[in-house]
Symmetry: C2
Subunit: 360 residues, 2 copies
């Protein structure tokens, strides 16, 4: 993997990635914009025991621009610069112009609840220069590069002592609120471990201390043994609908080896993980012959300097539809209670996906 | 409040409520339907440490029927019976034909994760016979009746030793997935305390043990003192956007007196609470001159037989829009991390609502 670091005219960092050496002379660009001075702060929600991020500058963010004005398109003319310069790179990562959290946040806010500066890094990860591609449509080598880039970003962002957790994700489809269609993901990083990964870490730690293996090692072994919900089965990585799926088509993509962070996988393991992920995403899109909207999240261990032998890095994918044409809405029981109702069995949904044949 | 209990032809319970005596001779009805044998089960999600409910019979539930076939319309002819009989009642509550949880659940399910029968009660609460009304458009006396009905249902459902938590809520608007337009809410009840109320109870208990007052007593006093986010201020009840709002227009409606369950409020307090709730809902609808979609949840104490002096019953309302025409989508940080990003300040949004004048 080759990487080139540049600085945009407006001061934001840009990282170009490729499987081949990247030419010198690429000039970083950004779209013209009014000055953005992100100064997010956080307020403590005493009833839920969690932080809420306030980022009012995000109101002005780009909202479903027509394709000809996509800020993620490659710059064709310096008269109309975008976030992506022209050049022979494959992927680009840059600091979000409208970050929810910012290393420069000062957070001097008076409030009746406890407040803190909204310190963190938010990056945009552009998967390809092709605006009509998608993560699942990339070649398996390109998907592997995506994994390597996410690993590299986690390592670099997580090395900042202010950052305790790095969360890469992809929101795909207008159904889940995507505002830019060019294939891309995002990385949020937080000055604390957010509640969802914190809870999962707690559960994993209990399991590890009791059994000496990670929870996902045992869970995956059980899924492989059962077989009914397996979607992809590579030598060192598996994909399956978990027996406890909350979303109808919820799928987990899990490397066999329990590494805390993606960057601890070797080349062969990354390739297997790329194959399983690509298999899942291709099946999603082929099943109804249309782009399948989802939220994809990469869960890794905190970047707090500690070792986390109980944490097992993996992807969880939450598709938006519960059946063709019917979205899953989160309502009273999910948002009010925190309990999901799934009106289908993962065994049945897995069979639907198993029946979809994909080749690459 | 007057109440009449009936049994539908298909065996489900129907409770009619009114401020005046209800005539004898009302015949309970239900729409014709294939036999429904709800047998939901729950599976343990070991990674998140929570239950997931599986209710596959819910796939067949009514989905946005044309208005002339609404199952919540009042029965006009016994040739076309609906869920609501004709009669001189004001509100009706009945067992959901497609319940997510059922007292009859047997739950004999083999799975690689721990399972349990999906035991509980799910009811539909029809606020009015008028299909074109809304909760906020009801008279304040009718809103008070709604509160009394929710209190009565909580007491009755919660008296079942299998039920540990009763969660009344209203999903309003197609934006939040509403499948029937007739004004109604729902009640879910669970054989355990769900994660969100459990966490809030934990936080409230810590506060109560330290301060001798409920968290919401102190929080509300601070909001009243600050004043910037107050939406309604009655003698014994308040409504405000909390300083830590996660949703742009998130509003809490809180009785001053810290009762654990709504049924512990007296008549005057219920009337004040009805006034604050109605004020909020009327402002929502008038602000953009259109029905304002939201999720409204009533949080009370568990119904586990214990006293809960730290629990302070109140409503939380989560509106779907973050600004006019722009929905708030829950995506990577909210669903993956459990951390909300609010791109507006509750002080600003409260000022918008304060500027809307309503009278009743």
């Amino acid at each position: 993997m080759f990487r080139k670091d540049l600085i945009k005219p407006d001061g934001r960092r840009l990282h170009l990635y490729s499987r081949k050496p990247i030419s010198d002379g690429i000039i970083a660009t950004n779209p013209p914009h009014d000055p953005v001075k992100p100064n997010p702060h956080m307020r403590w929600h005493p009833l839920r025991g969690e932080w809420v991020i306030y980022a009012s500058h995000r109101q002005d963010r780009t909202f479903l621009p027509p394709k000809e004005y996509s800020p993620l398109a490659v710059t064709k003319s310096m008269d109309f610069p975008t976030e992506l310069p022209a050049g022979d790179y494959e992927m680009a990562v840059f600091e979000n112009l409208f970050p929810a959290l910012s290393l420069g946040a000062e957070g001097m806010v008076q409030s009746s609840v406890e407040t803190q500066a909204g310190v963190g890094v938010c990056e945009v990860v552009v998967f390809t220069q092709d605006p009509d591609a998608s993560l699942g449509a990339l070649s398996v080598e390109e998907v592997k590069l995506v994994l390597q880039v996410l690993a590299d970003r986690t390592k670099e962002i997580g090395a900042n002592p202010q950052v305790k957790y790095v969360l890469p994700f992809e929101n795909r489809g207008v159904e889940v609120g995507v505002t830019l269609h060019h294939p891309h993901g995002q990385i949020y990083s937080y000055p604390f471990v957010p509640p969802v990964p914190a809870k999962m870490l707690e559960m994993q730690l209990k399991h590890f201390e009791k059994n000496g293996r990670t929870l996902l090692q045992d869970f995956t072994a059980t899924e492989v043994n059962d077989g009914r919900r397996i979607i992809a089965n590579e030598k060192t990585a598996k994909a399956y609908l978990p027996a406890c799926a909350r979303y109808a088509y919820e799928t987990w993509v899990v490397p066999d080896r329990p590494v805390a962070w993606l960057y601890d996988l070797n080349e062969d393991e990354l390739m297997d993980l790329a194959k399983t992920l690509k298999t899942v995403l291709m099946k999603f899109d082929k099943m109804w012959d249309r782009p399948f909207p989802y939220l994809l999240t990469l869960f890794q261990a905190p970047t707090d300097g500690a070792a986390h032998p109980a944490a097992h890095a993996h992807f969880q994918i939450f598709p938006a539809y519960r059946t063709q044409g019917k979205l899953k809405y989160l309502a009273g029981t999910e948002l009010g209670g925190g309990i999901f109702v799934n009106d289908s069995y993962p065994e049945v949904k897995a069979a639907e996906l198993q029946a979809v044949e994909v080749k690459f």
